[in-house]
Each structure stands twice: as C-alpha cells, then as structure tokens.
C-alpha cells in the first residue's frame, strides 16, 4: 500500500516537474545522407487477436522496409492504457505513436503541445478516408491523427435465447424493447449483461436515449452551452431508470468488469445473458473472455424512441486512431500512413478486427454481423463520439459516474443532469 502511494506521489511530483523536459531520448532523426537510427515508441491497446498479431506483423514489415527504424511496442489493456497514457502525458512527454480515440482527451493533449499537427504530411491521403472516420481527429481544420478503426454501438443479441423467449424479431422501438426485456425475464433468461464496475458501458444507454429523445443537435448544443438541465435529458434518464427498474441485468452486475472471466463479455459469450449494448469489438471480446456465440450472435441498432426528436439512424460510437507525439521523428508519420494504406488496412478489416475507414473498403468486411455495423454506419445520418471521449475528461467521467449512480439507484434522473451540468460549467 505504502509503495503504491509513494508511486502516486511520485507521479504527481513528476507531473509537477514536467513540462519543458519533453521529447524522447531514444529518437534521433537522421541528419542528411544515410538515415540515422531511429527508435519509435508505439503505444496501443490491441491486446486481443486478431489485431495483436496483425499490428505486430505491420511493425515488422515497416522495420524491414526501413532498416534504420526500430519500433518498440507497449501494449496495454484499456483501463491501464488510459491511466498510463494520462500519467506520461502529464509529465510533458507523449509516446512517438499512440492510439487515441480523438475528441476531448486528444484536444486537451493538443492544447498542452504534446501532439504533432500532421496536416501537411497527410494531405495527400486525407481524401481516401471517410469523413465520419476522420472527424474525431480534426480540430479547427487541422489533422492530428489518422483513423485505424471506426465503429458504432448497438445491441448484440443471442438469437437462441430470443427464440426461447418467443421473440421473433429484434425490437425497433424502445417500448417494444422494454416488452422484450420483460418476455426474456418471464422465460427465466437474464435479459442484459452489464459491467457496472467499469461505468463506461452504462453510459451508452443514457447517451443513446439522449440522442433519440433530445436529438443529436440538442446533445451537441448542450455540450457547447454546458447545460444539460433540459427536460429531454431528464427524460432520457427516466428511461434508463425505467429499464433498470425491470432488473434486467445479470446477478452482481454492479461489481462486474467488462472483459474479465466473469465480466459482461464473458456472461454474453457464454450464453448467460440475451443482450449487451456494446461497440463493434464485442464479438471478439465475447470469444476471448467467454466461449463466443458463433452463428447465434445477432446485431440490431439502438431502437427509436416514440415521440423522440432524434433520428433512428443516428449512430453513437467511436473508432481508434493513431496520433503522433510532438517531438516524434518524421518516420513516425510515415508509419501512420503505412498503417492506413489501403493494402495494409484492408487486411485488418478482413480479419474482422476493425471496420472500414477508407472509402471503398466495405467489401473487405467478411463477418455478417460486422457488415451490419458497417452498413449502419454507412447509412448513419449523424454521428456522436462516446461522451467520455468527446467531452473534457472531467465531464466525460462525470457522465459515466452519474449514469452508474442512476443505474445503481442512488441518484435520480434530475440529479444526473444537474451533476453533469455543474461539472461542465466548472470546466474551461
């Protein structure tokens, strides 16, 4: 205990002393003539197959093409990655290459001068990307990263369990959805798997309901005005509460993590729950943490809400991209372009690990379920990035926290919007 506290204290100290001392000591860009030896630090969070070995392979290929470059990978699991990247960026130094979700977190790092503006270097390839995929990495017309993945959140369901409960068709409206939850419960099936300990999976419900009830524009406007105290957002909270009141989640969900052996993905992958609201990576993690559902797995978009102002085609989600540290050598940018080349990226799409970010790449999607996600994205009228990534970290975490409290029953829908508004107003 003592030791880790000292570590935190040391980290806070490092944060204090940080700033000027940026730049990785290992990178020495070549000066004219023969290129000098360069080591690229690459941080990412693809800990599961197929991406884990695909990325490894890409790095090897790049090193073979550029003998002067050594790529050093640091691969961390989601939460550990976020914590470690925050620590190191607060010390005033970013890795040469790092996975990012774009949005508010990347903006904060850009404002601190940690991320390289690569607009000029990538101008030639920008038109090959789909606009939705790029949007999270562009601010004020400048590009700070290239996407490697784009996806959307929706319901993944177990066809067999739906059949067993007598549900013939995935619900298209929210009231039909609530009815189906009741039917599943009546059939003795756990309707929904949820990782209550990690908070971010819960915020999907509130965010999607806010998009459907208040509309995408109202949600975006609320972020600008820093005011979520609107009846429509309270209504979104009331619907989350209405769902939670049906007690649809697995036993002990408040303590469940996402990808652990008894977490949300495993519960779903082992056929112990009928649905989960999750992003495009869900099938991979289901098979990794549990047995996986194979052909029994289906996908349907988040239902529309009767009388809501939002369009039923609006999608919520995020992707993944690669950003370049401010002091990284030029080889880092070359690697980002190498990773996102059609020939290289479509291999990752074919493997089912990521979804298309390049125009005309859709045909590479092999998996039937992922094809549905890709189609949903292609038809999406509007797109909202994960709220905990789109907003400044404090606001994003407050959304996660408040929705978790709402689901646990300790806060009311009104308190949720008030708490989020209060934090949003206090952030500059």
């Amino acid at each position: 205990m003592k030791r880790s506290l000292v570590l935190i204290a040391a980290a806070v100290l490092v944060a204090g002393c940080g700033g000027g001392g940026g730049g990785s000591a290992t990178t020495q860009p070549g000066q004219g003539g023969a290129p000098g030896k360069v080591t690229l630090e690459w941080w990412h969070l693809s800990t599961t197959e197929p991406l884990k070995s695909l990325w490894e392979q890409r790095a090897k290929e790049f090193m073979a093409k550029n003998p002067n470059v050594t790529i050093k990978q640091t691969v961390l699991e989601n939460d550990a990655y976020k914590a470690k990247l925050t620590t190191i960026t607060q010390s005033g130094k970013a890795p040469d290459l790092f996975a990012t979700w774009g949005g508010g977190v990347l903006k904060q790092q850009i404002d601190a001068g940690l991320v390289k503006d690569i607009s000029g270097d990538v101008a030639d390839v920008l038109p090959t990307f789909t606009p939705a995929a790029l949007s999270a990495y562009q601010f004020d017309g400048k590009t700070y990263g290239l996407p490697t993945d784009i996806g959307a959140v929706g319901f993944w369901y177990n066809k067999k369990l739906f059949e067993k409960a007598g549900i013939t068709q995935p619900p298209a409206t929210w009231s039909a959805f609530l009815e189906d939850v009741k039917k599943l419960k009546a059939a003795g099936i756990t309707p929904i798997a949820l990782a209550g300990k990690e908070k971010w999976p819960g915020h999907y419900y509130w965010a999607y309901l806010a998009m459907r009830i208040a509309g995408l524009d109202a949600l975006k406007q609320a972020a600008v005005d820093k005011d979520f105290n609107k009846p429509d957002f309270v209504a979104a909270g009331q619907q989350v509460k209405a769902l939670a009141d049906l007690q649809p989640f697995q036993k002990g969900f408040l303590g469940a993590a996402y990808s652990t052996p008894d977490g949300q993905a495993a519960t779903m992958g082992n056929g112990k729950a009928a649905m989960e609201l999750m992003g495009q990576w869900a099938p991979v993690v289901q098979a990794d943490a549990g047995k996986g559902l194979g052909d029994d797995l289906g996908f349907f978009p988040f239902p529309s809400v009767e009388g809501g102002k939002g369009s039923a085609t609006d999608a919520f989600g995020g992707g993944g991209g690669l950003a370049v540290g401010a002091d990284a050598p030029k080889e880092a940018v070359a690697f980002v372009k190498f990773m996102t080349e059609m020939g290289n990226h479509s291999k990752a799409v074919e493997s089912g690990g990521v979804l298309p970010v390049l125009k005309g790449e859709e045909s590479a999607v092999k998996d039937a379920n992922l094809k549905q996600v890709a189609t949903m994205l292609a038809n999406a009228g509007g797109y909202q990035l994960y709220l905990d990534q789109a907003y400044p970290p404090a606001v994003g975490q407050q959304v996660n926290d408040s929705v978790a409290e709402l689901i646990a029953g300790t806060k009311t829908p009104e308190e949720v919007t008030q708490d989020i508004t209060e934090v949003a107003k206090s952030e500059e």
Binding site: M1, K2, S4, L5, I8, A9, A10, V12, L13, A15, G16, C17, G18, G19, G20, K82, A83, T86, T87, T89, Q90, G92, Q108, Q109, D111, A112, G113, L114, G196, K197, E198, K199, Q250, K251, G252, F253, L254, G255, A256, T260, P261, D262, T267, K272, P392, P393, A394, Q397, Q398, A404, E405, A408, G409, T410
Partner: protein, 308 residues
C-alpha cells in the same frame, strides 16, 4: 607526545563527521519525501489539469472548501471510520488470539505461523485479483461453498455487503502480520513472571489479563498505530476489488484522489485530497505518539538522551 586537541576543535570535528554521515540520507529524504509533499501542497492551491509546466491559476483554498463540501468526501471519512473500528475491534483481537494460541506448545505450530503469515507476503494486487475471483457472485468459490448451506451473497457487487467483504479481505491479508508482531512481543515477556503468577494460583485468564496483556501493551499500541495509518491510505485492494463502487459505497480517499487526478485530469484538486490525507495521517501520528505511546517512546525520541 603531542598535546591533546583543544576541546573546540574536537567538537567541530564531531559535527563534521555527523554532517558527512547524515548528508546522503538527508539528500534522498529531501528529494524523495519532502519535495513531493511540498509540490503537492503547492499544487493544491491551484486549478490545474497537470499539463504544461507549473500551475498558474491560483485559487487559494478553493480546492479544500470544494472537497469538504462534497458528499463523496463525507462518505470517504465514514468508510475510514468504519474500517478503523472494524480493524481495532475485530481484526486485531483476532490476531492476538491466534498469536496466543500459536505460542502454546502445539503440534505443527511453525507450519501454522508460516501459513498464517503467507498472505502478508502476497502483493495487494494479487490478493485483489484472487478475491475478486473467489467472491464473484456468479461463479465464485465463496458462493459455491455457501450454497451448501443454502445461502449466497453478492459480496462486492452489493452496496450493503461491500464493506464487510472488503474488511474480510483486509483481515485475511493482514492478521498474519499483526499475529507475528504479537508473537514477538509475547516472547519478550519473561516466563518467570508467568510461572510466578501460576505458583500464586492465578488462573489462565487472570495470568493473561494481569500479566500478558499489560506487558504486551507497547506491542498492541504500535500495532493499532500501523493499522490506522494503513487504513487512512488504503488504496490497492479497493482499486482492484471494486474500484470504489458500487456507486461509491467502498470508496476511500486514495481512490477519490486517483479518480480526480488521473481520470478527470484535475491534478490540483487531487493534490488537495493528498494533502488532506497527509495531514490526517500526521495529526493522528503526532497525537497518538504524544498521548498513547508516550511511555513506550520515552528516551527514543528527540530529547537527546535527556541532555537538553
């Protein structure tokens, strides 16, 4: 024969030696202990997200007034109180009982001592992962065993049972440590005293109550001290087991600090939490040493052996 050096020069030489011997430790202490504390205190007076050099937006005591006004801080203090009370009233007496038991001549006592001490050697993170599997509501070992008696619990996943479950894990990990301290203390009590009491016809309980317990006093006081300081700083176990949840019901101050410093990028505010933790530990340590451990420490602290 050379004349003996003048007393003044002799004293100077002694000071020089003392300084030289102290210097390396002093430098490390200043750099690794005092400097971080000062930086945290400094940062706690600013609104600061941790980026870009030193903080600039000075806000005085606002971080502290904000902290004291939050519901979460009140909850953290309540959890601290609960855990301290449970530790002192249950965990330590339990350790003492085991220590007394293992002081008897029983078969295999060395093995028991070893086994009971083993959890303390495990890292907190491993303990946390281990117990999150054991206490898993769906497929954990604890519920499998309990189901034999027809009961089951959600342990860490239920706001009502999370604190007792957490305390259970803490006890599992630390009772062996306190047991060892008590055993060492017990072995320092001369057997003559106990034999004398027995010859005078004292029962086992009376011997324990009037001989063993008073003579174990210093040991018990230091063990309570360590236990309370540990609880104020409790982090690793909670972070792995529950992350402070469900819905803040097992959050400790160190967890709150982590949430704000690293997840929300409010390093100034997190520093304020760390300062409150530091002051809490410091005040407790000083008050406890001044009033409770005064006799135990007589001659051991900075009175310069009574020469001042």
């Amino acid at each position: 024969m050379l004349p003996a050096p003048a007393p003044a020069a002799k004293r100077r030489g002694r000071w020089l030696t003392i300084t030289l011997f102290l210097l390396p430790a002093l430098v490390l202490f200043l750099l690794l202990v005092v400097a971080p504390i000062l930086v945290a205190v400094y940062a706690s007076a600013f609104r600061w997200n941790g980026f870009g050099g030193l903080p600039t937006n000075f806000i005085g005591f606002d971080n502290f007034t904000r902290l004291f006004g939050t519901e979460i801080f009140v909850q953290d203090m309540w959890h601290l109180l609960v855990l301290v009370l449970l530790s002192v009233c249950i965990q330590l007496p339990f350790s003492l009982a085991i220590a007394m038991l293992l002081n008897q001549r029983i078969r295999g006592r060395t093995l028991y001592r070893l086994v009971f001490f083993a959890p303390y050697v495990l890292s907190e993170v491993i303990t946390g992962v281990l117990f999150s599997l054991i206490l898993s509501p769906g497929s954990g070992m604890a519920n499998e065993l309990l189901s034999v008696f027809g009961i089951e619990s959600e342990f860490l996943a239920d706001p009502d049972t999370v604190m007792p479950s957490l305390f259970l894990v803490m006890t599992w990990k630390y009772f062996g440590f306190h047991m060892m301290i008590y055993l060492a203390g017990r072995q320092n009590i001369p057997n003559e005293l106990i034999e004398a009491a027995q010859i005078d016809g004292a029962t086992t309980w009376k011997t324990f109550r009037h001989i063993t317990l008073p003579l174990l006093g210093p040991t018990i006081r230091i063990s309570v001290f360590l236990s309370v300081i540990y609880t104020i700083q409790l982090f690793d176990l909670v972070w792995i087991l529950t992350g402070g949840g469900p819905s803040h019901s097992s959050e400790t101050m160190a967890v709150t600090m982590m949430e704000y410093g690293f997840k929300r990028s409010q390093v100034g505010y997190a520093s304020a939490i760390s300062v409150v933790m530091f002051v809490l530990s410091l005040v407790f340590a000083l008050v406890y040493q001044r009033f409770v451990m005064r006799r135990d420490l007589a001659g051991a602290t900075t009175t310069m052996g009574g020469r001042r």
